[in-house]
């Protein structure tokens, strides 16, 4: 195998992956290096169960043709050595080399520490964003509750003042009796002295409530800045790393989706609309 010299590094990498993925380890750890040791084909008897499982899974996927999966342990090792399954060996080698490259890139450039630091900050960032979602939702509810209270009051005042205005109109047209005028004056005075005072005070308090509901902005602004900083760090680290290990052809691919949420920055993009007018124009151009 070409990867012989990589054994210790790869072994450590695979062990750490296996440990974090909580895969049940069927064979004792000390036996693992034996499998990858140079010329270790004959010494691999301890791994038969794992290899058997691996090949069984292939034979299930491959259907009836995959008879080699039932071969004896010695033949299995020969198969991975490339005599019977050359394509698979190429793939395994490539995966090994990719893992090696990734591992070297991470360690060699010090990204392991950087990524560890930023990844450990992600749970904290999740909590912070949940806090933002919570505060903004509360604020939205406070504002909507306040308008639910204020709107009927405004409607009521509009109706009352409208009715009074109509009666005053009649007075100026000399169509009110003295008694009617007296009653109008009393009603108007009562409205100005009581209703208007009470209701404007109530509206004032609801407007204050709406104003105070904006206090989230100060708090969420700080939190969002922090999370933004973290995202930038993480993006920077991952981007550098990806540019090193991702093949050239993959670098320009974009994720196409119909569920992207709001457009944060439309500058320089011609695949999005920025206002309702453009939506209407587009639909009209399509004949809708």
């Amino acid at each position: 195998m070409s990867a012989t010299s990589d054994s210790p590094d790869l072994e450590a990498l695979f062990d750490s992956i296996a440990a974090t993925a909580a895969v049940p380890v069927a064979t004792p750890m000390p036996e693992r290096p034996v499998r990858l040791a140079p010329g270790g084909g004959g010494a691999a008897s301890g791994d038969n169960d794992e290899l058997q499982e691996l090949f069984d899974s292939f034979s299930v996927a491959g259907g009836a043709e995959a008879k080699p999966g039932e071969a004896a342990p010695a033949e299995l090792m020969a198969a991975t050595d490339g005599d019977v399954w050359p394509k698979q060996e190429v793939v395994f080698n490539q995966i090994g080399q990719m893992a090696r490259t990734l591992h070297d890139a991470i360690c060699g450039l010090g990204y392991d520490k950087l990524i560890e630091k930023t990844v450990s900050a992600i749970p904290d960032a999740k909590d912070r964003l949940a806090y933002v979602a919570n505060l903004t939702e509360q604020a939205a509810c406070r504002v909507l509750n306040a308008t639910d209270i204020a709107v009927p009051v405004v409607d009521d005042m509009a109706a009352t003042t409208g009715a009074l205005a109509d009666r005053w109109e009649l007075l100026f047209q000399n169509r009110l009796s003295v008694a009617q005028f007296k009653s109008l004056a009393e009603d108007t005075h009562k409205f100005l002295r009581n209703d208007a005072q009470q209701k404007t005070a109530l509206l004032h308090s609801q407007l204050t409530e709406i104003m105070m509901a904006q206090d989230f902005q100060d708090l969420t602004g700080q939190v969002i800045k922090k999370v933004g900083g973290l995202a930038q760090e993480l993006e920077g680290a991952l981007m550098k790393l990806l540019l090193q290990v991702v093949p050239e052809t993959k670098k320009t691919e974009e994720v196409e989706s119909l569920m992207n949420g709001p457009v944060i920055n439309a500058e320089g993009r011609n695949d999005v609309v920025v206002n309702q007018e453009q939506v209407d124009d587009l639909l009209e151009s399509l004949g809708f």
Binding site: C141, L258, P262, A266, N275
Partner: protein, 131 residues
């Protein structure tokens, strides 16, 4: 607005705030008969139960998104006549085209104003009147 003020609306959005805002705006426009659903799947259940005459839906929702809801409505014989107005933050041209092709009656991009909602509703009612 010329439309029947008793017209029964279903407002579909996964955020209760947006449902409340749309409900309030519809009330301002004289439509008080409004029910809500928090995703496309629940909306479809309510629509199947009958009685609705207008659907206002978001796009990006869990379980069933607004486009799928629209497509399902258009392919269901007893629902396909329902006007469906989309109010969504999705602003890619291909979204708008996909919605139009799926048979959306209107498309409003968030953030939107009360005036826009009123204008689009009027336009849809005009079309319904001609049909």
């Amino acid at each position: 607005m010329a439309a029947d003020p008793k017209m029964r609306f279903l407002v579909v959005d996964d955020f209760s705030t947006m449902r409340r805002i749309v409900r309030n705006l519809l009330k301002e426009l004289g439509f008080t008969n409004v029910d809500e659903a928090e995703d496309g799947a629940i909306a479809l259940q309510k629509l199947q139960a009958g009685g609705f005459e207008f659907v206002v839906t978001d796009w990006n929702m869990p379980n069933m998104d607004g486009l799928t809801l629209l497509q399902t409505i258009r392919s269901t014989p007893n629902l396909k006549h329902l006007p469906v107005l989309m109010i969504t933050a999705e602003a890619k041209k291909e979204n708008i085209i996909a919605a139009a092709q799926a048979g959306a009656s209107g498309y409003i991009v968030k953030p939107f104003t009360a005036g826009t909602l009123s204008e689009k509703l009027t336009k849809i009612f005009e079309k319904m009147g001609k049909a």
